[in-house]
């Protein structure tokens, strides 16, 4: 019996309460052990405008919100007008006929009007239609009413039994009405018996920080990174994390550095504009050899750009962050679960090599949601603080003899924390000698400067072997390799399936997570075996393609790029691959046009 693959979309204006039914559906799915991927297309507006939430579920892992909709729930006329034309045969459109008129739908689309006036004459408020629609859709996918009843009861019992009764009543009415008037789907929503969890990328990053032992988190709000701050603030007391909202991003990164220097694991998150303000301090952290982790949740740029839309546009900003050359690690998690796992990995590297770590995610990952097997959220992670000395027991060297920046083979110098008796020392952003003496004024010395600079940069050699080198996914014998980085893993892997099924094109995927340092040799070894290589990335200028070439000279056969603010949909990549592989039109680059206006 073949697996279900169900996509439900709820659309309306900001403030129409789309989140709640979305959450309820998500919970119902994961509690039945169904996988989930959800993406919310929204705008930088608090009331009004257009929001479009897509939830997709299946017994097997779902990488993206997919290409097709099975259920559309328009909460206003605007949504109906924007999306009805995209509904295909076999799909269902549920709407409140009191206010919304369908217009002409494609053949085979089941239009399911319901009248809130009739179903709930006595209940006031716009949110009623949400409850009715929610109940109706559950009926059509064969979810027993009690599931919904339980959730509504839990949700409203804080208020009063009357409110519970009212909502359950409304839901019941919608549920029954759908049963009598609408054709249900040819399946009932299965239950795999193995409960799953679901979370958004920003939660995953914050929880990853908690797992890593972050004790200091500070931030300045910036979409789409603010979710990390919100999680941290909510859990500050429970987790024993100091959480501060401060005056600007200059303060954020510098406070984090101050906290990190005392021995805390310190983290912060922002988006591209805030990251731009942090670049000088990242170089300073590396110069003072203080480990700190900074997250850039990319959004559509340049400048303020489109704050609620996604892009992979900050790679070169991260590569060029700050003046001069300095050691640092840059990593781009590839899935929401990977966000969780990456943070402790990066903290261990930052501590071991006493340098900043930068995480590049984007709105798609950070505000997207997906299901996860709870077992994957392992908080019991290895913790490596690197060479920290001066802890209780260590015998301090004769006073003043401690060399914080001793020239070592590895480039890593044993680190004492301020407060350790006998290890008093000064760190500086000016170039300095082994004992911290400035090499910028009286003791300027070209030779010593060279040695100090080389000592720091040597660290990069030590980092590479400690990070996983990328592995090819899919059949080795393939017509084309889709090369991506970070958040595009999901959509690329779904595109692989479609290419095989729909186009009989066998493709595989090489997804790069660790960007600096880069496993150039390993990557070239893999790509050299590929017939063709197409780079897929979510920006205008092919930032990763250019970076890879700068490291390796490698030149791809084709590029699929998107920079309109919306994430790739699987079919965009499928079309791109076809266009580029087809010998007829010699296109080297394909830019899909986003069909949905959100």
């Amino acid at each position: 019996m073949n697996k279900i693959d169900l996509a439900i979309a709820i659309g309306g204006a900001a403030g129409q309460g789309i989140a709640t039914p979305g959450d309820i559906l998500a919970r119902i799915f994961v509690r039945r052990g169904l996988h989930l991927n959800a993406y919310n297309a929204y705008q930088s507006i608090i009331r009004g405008g257009h929001i479009f939430l897509t939830l997709r579920t299946s017994e097997q892992v779902v990488h993206t919100y997919g290409d097709k909709l099975d259920v559309l729930i328009p909460l206003n006329q605007d949504t109906m007008n924007r999306h009805l034309k995209l509904m295909k045969s076999g799909s269902v459109v549920l709407f409140n006929s009191d206010k919304i008129h369908p217009g002409t739908a494609a053949k085979g689309v089941q239009l399911c009007p319901f009248s809130v006036k009739e179903l709930a004459p006595k209940v006031r408020g716009d949110l009623v239609q949400n409850t009715v629609a929610l109940a109706a859709v559950l009926r059509l996918i064969g979810v027993e009413f009690n599931t919904l009843k339980g959730i509504l009861t839990l949700q409203f019992k804080r208020k009063s039994d009357a409110v519970v009764a009212e909502n359950v009543g409304v839901a019941r009415a919608g549920y029954d009405y759908a049963g009598e008037h609408f054709r249900p789907f040819p399946f009932t929503l299965p239950d795999t018996g193995k409960k799953l969890a679901f979370l958004e990328g920003n939660q995953a990053l914050a929880m990853g920080g908690a797992a890593a032992g972050v004790r200091f988190y500070c931030a300045y709000p910036m979409s789409p990174a603010t979710g990390v701050l919100h999680w941290m603030a909510r859990h500050a007391r429970q987790m024993g994390i100091m959480v501060r909202q401060v005056e600007d991003e200059l303060a954020v990164i510098n406070m984090a550095i101050g906290a990190a220097h005392t021995g805390c694991r310190a983290m912060c998150a922002t988006s591209g504009g805030g990251f731009a303000l942090m670049t000088e301090a990242l170089g300073a952290a590396s110069m003072m050899e203080i480990p700190v982790v900074c997250i850039d949740v990319q959004r559509a740029g340049p400048a303020t750009g489109v704050p609620t839309k996604t892009e992979q546009g900050d790679l070169w900003q991260a590569l060029g962050a700050g003046q001069g050359d300095y050691p640092r690690v840059i990593v781009a998690p590839t899935t929401i679960t990977d966000c969780f796992k990456t943070v402790p990995e990066l903290f261990n590297l930052a501590d071991k090599f006493q340098c900043p770590g930068i995480i590049l995610t984007d709105l798609l990952l950070s505000e997207g949601r997906s299901s996860v097997d709870p077992a994957e959220l392992n908080f019991d992670v290895p913790i490596d603080r690197g060479e920290v000395i001066g802890l209780n027991g260590d015998v301090p060297p004769a006073n003043g003899e401690y060399k914080r920046f001793a020239l070592t083979k590895s480039g890593v110098s044993p680190r004492a924390l301020p407060g350790a008796p006998g290890y008093v020392h000064v760190v500086a952003t000016d170039e300095h000698d082994e004992d911290g003496t400035l090499l910028s004024d009286e003791f300027t010395n070209a030779r010593r400067r060279q040695l100090s600079h080389e000592k720091r940069m040597r660290k990069m050699k030590g980092i590479l072997p400690l990070i996983k080198s990328p592995r090819l996914f899919g059949p080795t014998k393939a017509k084309v390799t889709l090369l991506g980085w970070g958040s595009t893993e999901g959509v690329i892997r779904e595109a692989l399936e479609k290419l095989a099924e729909e186009e009989q094109i066998i493709a595989n995927n090489l997804q790069i997570k660790w960007l600096v340092p880069l496993h150039t040799k390993a990557i070239l070894a893999i790509l050299s075996k590929s017939k063709k290589v197409i780079i897929v990335e979510n920006n205008y200028s092919g930032q990763f393609g250019r970076y890879l070439r700068s490291e390796s000279g490698f030149d791809a056969d084709g590029h699929i790029r998107k920079y309109d603010g919306e994430p790739f949909m699987p079919h965009h990549i499928v079309q791109g691959v076809k266009k580029i592989l087809s010998t007829k039109n010699q296109v080297k680059q394909y830019v899909p046009v986003h069909e949905i206006t959100v």
């Binding site: 007391r237 406070m255 101050g258 021995g263 000064v426 760190v427």
Partner: protein, 313 residues
């Protein structure tokens, strides 16, 4: 990671032992650094350095219990000139870094120091917000009313009309008056010193370190090389102690009035002090128990982990 120092302290007090320290009594010599200051002969900053060391000695603080945090400037070279922990950070960022360090380890006595350009110019936003938060820091500004290290341009405290390399025809801008600004921004200990009066300055610094909350000391520290208007002579003739003027530092109006005095007499001393506001670390719930964040063990208990995961199901 376990604690790097014996005296884990509970919030509220600084490192165990202001006044009752088990460790050996130190002298100013013990705070001497490996390198000597490369300040110009006669630079006001020398006076500040002596006063600071003297204050630390009198408070019986040990080098490892103290951390200086500076930005960039002649004055900001201070951490290299005193035997204590130090962070010589970026231009303008001293107070941000110091806040992070103080909140992460409130058992350290943190003294932020730097210049007028560093603190009131590029660092102005951190200055205002650190004061309103009443972070438990001592902030010493070596105010020479000039950009020294960059060889002489106007600073936010340069007097109107001053000619410098960047204002060869005289500055047309109104200077900042740090004292009223600090009071209005919410600092709870606001003083002005003069590095030519080391004993007086030492007392102000001691008071600042002992004060629980944000303490500003705006110290006139003449730049003998680039500021030919506000010289040692200028201040010797004009500075008058607030104590001798019978000033009451708990009187807001009087504080504001005195703060605006500028001319034949320029008051130095403690303008404003309030002790009714808790410092930020005192108000921070996460610090109620468990000691400094920097000393706390890492890792998450499996119960907590389970609770977090349950939220997601």
């Amino acid at each position: 990671m376990s604690t790097p120092m014996e005296e884990i302290t509970t919030r509220g007090q600084g490192p165990k032992g202001i006044g009752q320290n088990p460790l050996p009594k130190l002298t100013v010599k013990d705070f001497k650094s490996k390198v000597d200051p490369d300040w110009c002969p006669g630079c006001g900053d020398f006076g500040l350095l002596i006063a600071l060391k003297q204050a630390l000695v009198e408070l019986e603080l040990q080098p490892h219990q103290v951390m200086t945090v500076s930005g960039i400037g002649c004055s900001s070279n201070l951490p290299g000139y005193i035997n204590a922990n130090g962070m010589h950070t970026l231009h303008g960022r001293a107070l941000a870094v110091a806040t992070g360090a103080q909140m992460a380890n409130h058992s350290l006595k943190i003294i932020a120091a730097g210049g007028d350009g560093d603190g009131f110019g590029i660092g102005g936003n951190h200055f205002v917000h650190t004061m309103r938060r009443n972070v438990d820091l001592t902030y010493i500004v070596m105010d020479n009313q000039i950009y020294g290290l960059t060889t002489g341009q106007i600073s936010p405290t340069s007097i109107k009309g001053m000619t410098t390399k960047s204002t060869p025809f005289g500055s047309v801008e109104n200077p900042i008056n740090p004292i009223p600004l600090a009071i209005a921004a919410g600092a709870t200990y606001v003083a002005r010193g003069y590095t030519g009066q080391v004993k007086h300055l030492t007392a102000l610094i001691k008071g600042a370190i002992q004060h629980r909350g944000f303490a500003l000391i705006d110290a006139f520290s003449p730049c003998v090389t680039y500021n030919l208007d506000n010289t040692h002579d200028f201040f010797k003739q004009r500075t008058t102690k607030l104590e001798d003027m019978g000033h009451d530092p708990t009187n807001f109006q009087a504080a504001m009035e005195k703060a605006y005095m500028w001319g034949e007499t320029i008051p130095i001393g403690l303008f404003w002090k309030r002790e009714d506001l808790p410092s930020l670390d005192q108000s921070e719930p996460v610090l109620e128990e468990g000691g400094p964040m920097a000393h706390r063990p890492l890792g998450v208990s499996s119960e907590t982990a389970q609770a977090l995961i349950r939220e997601l199901m």
